[in-house]
Symmetry: C2
DNA sequence: TAATCTATACCGACTAGTTGGTACAGTATG
DNA sequence: CATACTGTACCAACTAGTCGGTATAGATTA
């Protein structure tokens, strides 16, 4: 099938993502990316004109997958419940299941990039920020609705603002990966995301 | 002052730390470390026999600073309050002040290492794990005391276990750095750590 | 329908520069 | 005289990136 290059392109992206999560894309040489994709140097430079371009294409690729995943979770959660707080709690549970405990290098490409100055271009940063913001805005909106509902039932102000709670989702999400790697225990990711969910519930429930 | 080599050694460590937080130590060349330390190649290899050895010495160095800092916070906090929950909350506040909002590259060396496979040796991992564990164990102990105290006053079980709450400190701590870098806003670190504190309080208070 | 042309997809040898690391002769200090 | 360097020259291995060439599929032409 010499006509369709998307197959090769995707192989390159897959290989690069694997290496990026294992050792960081900056530390991975093009030769390693090429070897992983089982192609040749010529093929690589046919699809990407530089390593920087690959790096940017990779964040774009991952950001798109992340966006789709979030959309799927939102859709699923809207089907499962009408209560905004329950929707957020369910979304946390679904996110916790995202990472299989057997995964060898659980991690987030965004975090990997942001600790590697060379790849952390303004363009890459904006892509990550945009993804974070979109998801945080969804959570924040739901939590504001939940706060309003709780208010009608005669509740006092929240201990933490919906905006900070929403952002904390990503703090815990990203931090949980660091924890999992540091303690060498992939199951910690799941546990921490679920702990965040329980904490969220506690802030609203009482 | 040719008798004391610790000065030069510290200059190398400082230069390496700066570069590690800016672009990752793997991406930083020895020539850059040497230039930053304002020494020569000869001097570098007099003190460290390889880049790997520098990397390990650097985690050790940072881990020691971190340990000292934690000890200082614990001491300060024990002076300020006798209540275990208040002690933890105060410790969070002091930690939030750790990072100046003007800092150019706020971040954690441990997180930087753990996303750069080459540096993430088992030795380095254990050093990070040990630091994390020591601090989490302190928080967990305090929270268990706090839970017991609250129990005497007729409280029900906690929404989240002290162990998970204690680990979440590092999740939020590490995640907050990623957030600060992604949103390009160093003040987010402080806000997230304080939000964690408020959430902790909410879990215990009601 | 065979010959020619064109674009896409890919190969792999090659190069110029950088990397971590070595070697070693010299110097200043306590 | 040992310690703590400076300075420079050097090396093999690796790096990103280049370049001329090839194979194939499909459209155009004779």
């Amino acid at each position: 099938m010499p006509r369709d290059g998307t197959h090769t392109r995707n192989r390159i992206l897959d290989s690069a993502l694997l290496l990026a999560l294992e050792k960081g894309l900056a530390a991975a040489s093009l030769d390693q990316v090429i070897e992983g994709a089982e192609i040749t140097k010529g093929a690589f430079f046919y699809h990407f004109k530089s390593k920087d371009e690959l790096a940017l294409a990779l964040v774009r690729h991952v950001a798109e997958l992340d966006r789709q995943n979030h959309a799927k979770i939102v859709q699923r959660v809207e089907e499962l419940s009408r209560d905004p707080l329950q929707q957020v709690l369910l979304a946390c549970s679904l996110t916790a299941d995202l990472v299989a405990p057997s995964e060898p290098n659980p991690g987030c490409l965004f975090a990997s990039y942001c600790y590697q100055g060379d790849l952390w271009s303004e363009a890459a940063r904006k892509i990550c920020e945009s993804n974070f913001h979109e998801q945080a805005a969804w959570i924040e909106g739901k939590l504001k609705q939940a706060a309003k509902l709780a208010g009608r039932k005669g509740k006092s102000a929240l201990a933490v603002s919906p905006a900070q709670l929403a952002m904390m989702f990503h703090s815990v999400f990203e931090g949980a990966f660091v924890l999992a790697r540091t303690y060498n225990d992939a199951s910690l990711f799941r546990k921490q995301v679920l702990a965040y969910r329980d904490m969220l519930e506690a802030v609203f429930k009482p």
